[in-house]
């Protein structure tokens, strides 16, 4: 019997998972960061539910330190698809004293996001949050389920995850619990890019090579911005760069690149010598950084 092409199979699986979320949960939400993975999820949601409306809003946890291009992209996209957007602002939690901003040269708001995320979930009583995480991204994610049950504190206990058999997803939870769902768990970074190319999905411009003021920090290129704590030691240079992943401006490193078009990017990635999350300063903190953050309720 004919087998589907791998991108078709991955796409069909993701659509199937999204529809399971719609069928099993009362108040799901799609976590949208403006990065290529969550943008891909939006396209998959269109394929899963059109011509009906999405059975969930998009939720953006805004640290206030985003690339301007990401915010612009987000707002244009919402206008185009006509779906609901809810924004949780980390700044609100800082102002209210619920979280304390990090200090020092390597300060970032990445870890503060967790608090805002949990507060937003509690406020709207979301019972399932769909996200674009993939298993190939990082060691702790390799064992993540597609339906990942979190307790009321958003905590993840790796020793108590439910077995996931066949294509059957058990989303049953108690009140106050929450499930994170990852429809593109089986997609690699390259799969996402090939899908974006095939579907002609538009991305924020920062993914493509452009000129930018950068400084070198811990051997990586960081965008010079008002959010980054810079001092006289940091030398600002203008370089041709692109961003492989999109976190905050304070924790996302750029790579030197002349890949202006998607074909160039795919070539660069295929020959790439540094894994996608290698450019994320937040993972480098310790060997078990991601695992510790997931136990604390991070996405």
């Amino acid at each position: 019997m004919k087998q589907l092409d791998y991108l078709d199979e991955l796409e069909a699986e993701a659509i199937h998972i999204l529809r399971e979320v719609a069928g099993q949960f009362e108040k799901p939400a799609l976590l949208f960061s403006g990065g290529k993975d969550s943008i891909t999820l939006v396209r998959l949601a269109e394929k899963a539910f059109r011509p009906g409306k999405f059975p969930f809003p998009l939720v953006h946890i805004d640290t206030g330190h985003n690339f301007e291009e990401t915010i612009t992209y987000r707002d244009n996209m919402i206008k185009r698809i006509g779906e609901k957007l809810i924004v949780g602002h980390v700044q609100d939690d800082i102002d209210a004293g619920r979280v304390v901003e990090q200090k020092g040269k390597n300060a970032s708001r990445n870890q503060l996001q967790t608090v805002t995320l949990l507060n937003t979930i509690a406020k709207h009583q979301f019972d399932a949050c769909i996200g674009g995480a993939r298993r190939d991204e990082e060691k702790a994610r390799a064992k993540e389920r597609i339906f990942s049950v979190r307790d009321e504190f958003g905590q993840w206990d790796p020793k108590r995850q439910r077995p996931e058999l066949w294509n059957i997803y058990n989303g049953k939870i108690h009140k106050g619990e929450n499930v994170r769902v990852f429809p593109i768990s089986n997609w690699t970074e390259l799969d996402v890019w090939n899908y974006i190319r095939r579907e002609k999905i538009e991305l924020p411009t920062i993914y493509f090579a452009h000129e930018r003021d950068v400084i070198t920090r811990n051997g990586q290129l960081m965008a010079a911005s008002p959010f980054l704590n810079m001092d006289d030691e940091d030398v600002v240079e203008r370089r041709n760069v692109r961003f492989r992943t999109v976190g905050d401006m304070t924790c996302t490193a750029a790579v030197e690149s002349y890949a202006f078009e998607i074909d160039n990017i795919i070539d660069e990635i295929s020959a790439s010598r540094v894994s996608e999350r290698g450019a994320r300063m937040d993972d480098k903190v310790s060997e078990a950084a991601m695992e510790d953050r997931k136990k604390g309720g991070y996405f």
């Binding site: 058990n170 690699t188 290698g278």
Partner: protein
């Protein structure tokens, strides 16, 4: 290019993690910063080479203990195929993990230590692979470097395994002698085993055609979601969204809705902006029918020519996955694709001793036990027998008190 998902069955000491690490490393799937982390870590082999097993140990506790506890998924691709590895622990206390990892795999690599040959664990792994219906097995006889790459050792293990394969019902088995540590026959053909004329592991995995077990006339479409925009311009639009689990559907096909039994004809198949003539196994689409019938999530559309069983009393194989033992007085949830119903285990027919393959007649079912039971469901299920159609023959049991998945069911006979 398509996807091959395969299971690796072996134990800590068989060198399984090293084998996977070698596959990833030699095929160029390891990237520089992962390599740097490898070299920076403390784990080295006795001869000073990098311990490749570290590539597959993802969680802290495991890294500390040096063994894998859960099912880990690793991804790599060559220019011929995309691979998903389901790496599961080999120890008997993690039987449920292997059952989980095997449930979706098209192929299993069963690892045998050349010094030990077929052992109790091999029997257990082979039984599980057969139970879960994996259509293809590759037996990798590892650590050939420790038996001087001796052909006679390999041949003896092959002939012993053939006996076992016959006993557990495994029909498609390939055999490859390897050394994961030294890299023999993993990616490149071994210069130290020129007596072996078969393919090395990676080229084999790239080329193997997975025999399909599903009868192609078994057209099955479990309905997940009903698309009803109810806007002014699409007031009457009603589409049934789901994923074809087996067989295929074409426009104008006559279909039956189960369990109600109503019939209709497919008027349209949709996938966003396209309207394909047919939807084949694995495709997620939206199906429109000519008649307005009451269909909801949990119903199944099937080919009118070839229908599944519809029943509330089913004989099935069960793998128990919870630390709390099975309670035959307790009402569990049963989830069969998108259908959720209550159920009770009416009778335990027998348990299988998975080390000896003998049937035991017992009253209890504990963690990792496997056996044959009869389940009674509150709602009728539209199912196929697992051995005929895996996608429509499996289900899970959920404990309503904890919401945890406590069992895996494979339907073997209609007990009605």
């Amino acid at each position: 290019m398509n996807i091959l998902k395969f299971l690796t069955a072996g134990s800590v000491d068989d060198g399984k993690s090293t084998l996977i690490g070698r596959l990833l490393y030699d095929s160029g799937a390891i990237l520089v910063d992962q390599l740097e982390a490898l070299q920076a870590s403390n784990r080295k082999n006795d001869d000073g080479t990098i311990d490749l097993a570290i590539l597959t140990d993802g969680l802290k506790a495991e890294r500390e203990q040096g063994i894998t506890i859960d099912v880990a998924y690793k991804y790599f691709q060559t220019d011929k195929r995309k691979f998903i590895i389901a790496d599961t622990p080999g120890h008997i206390q993690y039987t449920r993990n292997m059952v989980t990892g095997a449930s979706n795999a098209g192929l299993a690599i069963i690892l045998i230590d050349a010094r030990k040959g077929v052992i109790e664990q091999t029997i257990r792994h082979s039984f599980l692979v057969s139970l879960l219906g994996l259509p293809q097995v590759v037996v990798c006889v590892n650590k050939m470097d420790m038996v001087d790459y001796d052909e006679a050792v390999f041949n003896k293990i092959v002939s012993d395994y053939k006996v076992l394969a016959g006993k557990v019902g495994l029909k498609n088995v390939a055999y490859i002698p390897v050394s994961a540590l030294k890299g023999d026959n993993i990616v490149h053909p071994s210069e130290r085993m020129t007596w072996f004329k078969g393919s090395s592991l990676l080229p084999y995995l790239e080329a193997v055609e997975i025999p399909t077990d599903t009868l192609t006339e078994h057209a099955r479409f479990p309905v997940q979601w009903v698309v009803r925009p109810q806007t002014e311009e699409l007031h009457d639009y009603r589409g049934y969204a789901g994923r074809v689990s087996s067989g295929s559907f074409r426009v104008n096909d006559k279909v039956t809705v189960l369990p109600s039994g109503f019939t209709s004809t497919i008027s349209k198949i949709e996938l966003l902006d396209s309207e394909p003539e047919a939807a084949i196994s694995g495709m997620s689409v939206t199906i429109h029918l000519e008649d307005e019938i009451d269909i909801s999530r949990g119903d199944t559309l099937v080919s009118a020519k070839n229908k599944p069983h519809v029943s509330q009393l089913i004989e099935a194989d069960l793998c128990w996955m919870d630390t709390k033992a099975l309670d035959t007085t307790h009402t569990y949830f049963l989830q069969h694709n998108s259908k959720l119903t209550r159920c009770r285990i009416q009778e335990i027919l027998y348990k299988v001793n998975i080390n000896t393959l003998e049937q035991e007649f017992v009253e209890d079912f504990k963690l990792n036990d496997i056996g044959r039971i009869v389940v009674k469901t509150a709602d009728p299920l539209a199912f196929d027998l697992y051995q005929d159609n895996k996608a429509n023959g499996g289900a899970i049991l959920i404990d309503s008190r904890t919401n945890v998945t406590v069992g895996a069911l494979m339907f073997r006979a209609n007990a009605d």
